[in-house]
Symmetry: C2
Subunit: 237 residues, 2 copies
DNA sequence: CGGGTTCTGTTCGACACCGCACAGATCTTC
DNA sequence: GAAGATCTGTGCGGTGTCGAACAGAACCCG
């Protein structure tokens, strides 16, 4: 466990040339991200853009009747708040911390100034946004065609890729909110996957035992998204 | 009916200041878009970016088993090929002409040069991309939560908004491919909506009789997307 | 006009997920 | 360690979509 936090735990920040890092890093604010914390509400003005390091953030759409569905998930590979530089300032979705941790944030105006320099940061942000688009598109496809079991595995893998450990802290109720299904459905899917020996489940904790097994059990959507992220945002530790 | 085509039938092109139009318009190539024509294949290098005027283009993801699902639809309010300026050059989806018509296209390199000027065109393209993101996100939500009837109405309205007439030429089979459902499902949904007196159906032609009725019958997703497009890309004829 | 093609409508059982109700298990707190 | 809260597992009927098979209707073309 590293006793000191470093913005470079975020892949986008890590990919910046030294020169840009020296200009930007002093302006970053280290921000704790407690579980369930809402970074942006649907339609609300965003004040900051967030670069997660150890936290994971879900982009959720919440319907009028209260039902919800996850649109995408963001971890240390990306950034929360793309509409700040895309020009819209707000989005109709909500950003909520799905796994507690840390992020570095930058005031919106500073981010916009940086974007307008048209330097490496702009390039990275746009490429990341395209990867995010792919994730959303694939979520749409997956919601249409694939079984809950497969979607559960996909969700698990996407979360796992954004965590340093193989365990995630998450109740079935919350997973159900993310996937936009009933809690009982998650109970069943998780039970199936556990019986197959791929995960170990205990009250709010999921430990992944067999990653390859999960990948075999999920649909093609996971691989499509993963491949596209790797292509657009190559990263080496 | 205008006997001459004009790039300004595309809202993004129309929104450019005179100065930018004079630079760009001479480089545009008027391109016929026949029904079913594939503009980009999944993963293939894009050569041009397309600004539809009277055509409508579907962005589809086609799965390994051949099943498909529409991710978004683009008409004269937007542009096909955002990954050219986002930096990825390709996407894992396919762009297919859903309704025949015309478009103006620009070679990829010219578009990228224009984007790098960081002028009005860049601003428009980014804002449009954010609107497109909203459409994709809402497609994901809709696929998860809403009935086929509602999705059929949403699809109809989104297409209608991009057409000059109230009639669209489209078989149930094709609509089913777009929505990612069975053809029989579309038969039933269309039958329901026709019995309600909102549309008139005859072998490959759908005429909308009661637009307000359709809006009442669809889910909130349509309004969310519409509102976001209007907010991000205000347009007056 | 007639024959062939394409598109649309209907039926049927199968199955996945829903909504609800409730029991049981596990953790927390005092 | 007992009480309470939270989380997880299970059973039930209901419903919407699927998959397949087939009949009928509309259009096209020779």
């Amino acid at each position: 466990m590293p006793e000191t936090q470093d913005p470079r735990q975020n892949h986008l920040l890590a990919a910046l040339p030294v020169e840009d890092r020296e200009r930007l890093f002093p302006k970053l604010e280290e921000t704790p991200m407690p579980l369930g914390h809402v970074l942006y509400e649907s339609g609300a003005q965003m004040r900051h853009i967030y670069f997660p390091t150890t936290a994971i953030v879900s982009l959720l759409y919440v319907m009028e009747d209260g039902a919800s569905a996850e649109i995408a998930v963001v971890g240390n590979e990306g950034v929360v708040g793309v509409s700040l530089f895309m020009g819209g300032e707000t989005t109709p979705s909500r950003a909520v911390v799905q796994s507690a941790g840390l992020a570095y944030r930058l005031p919106g105006q500073l981010l916009k100034d940086e974007f307008l320099r048209a330097g490496p940061m702009q390039r990275l942000l746009l490429r990341y946004t395209q990867a995010l688009i792919t994730q959303m598109a694939q979520t749409a496809v997956c919601n249409r065609h694939h079984s809950l079991d497969q979607q559960f595995c996909r969700w698990l893998l996407l979360s796992l890729d954004r965590l340093p450990t193989n365990e995630l802290v998450m109740t079935q109720e919350l997973i159900a909110n993310m996937l936009g299904v009933r809690r009982e459905g998650v109970t069943e899917a998780a039970g199936n996957v556990q019986r197959a020996g791929l995960i170990e489940y205990r009250r709010g904790h999921i430990a992944v035992l067999d990653r390859a097994g999960l990948e075999a059990r999920t649909c093609e959507c996971y691989a499509v998204v993963k491949k596209e992220f790797d292509r657009l945002l190559p990263y080496t530790d």
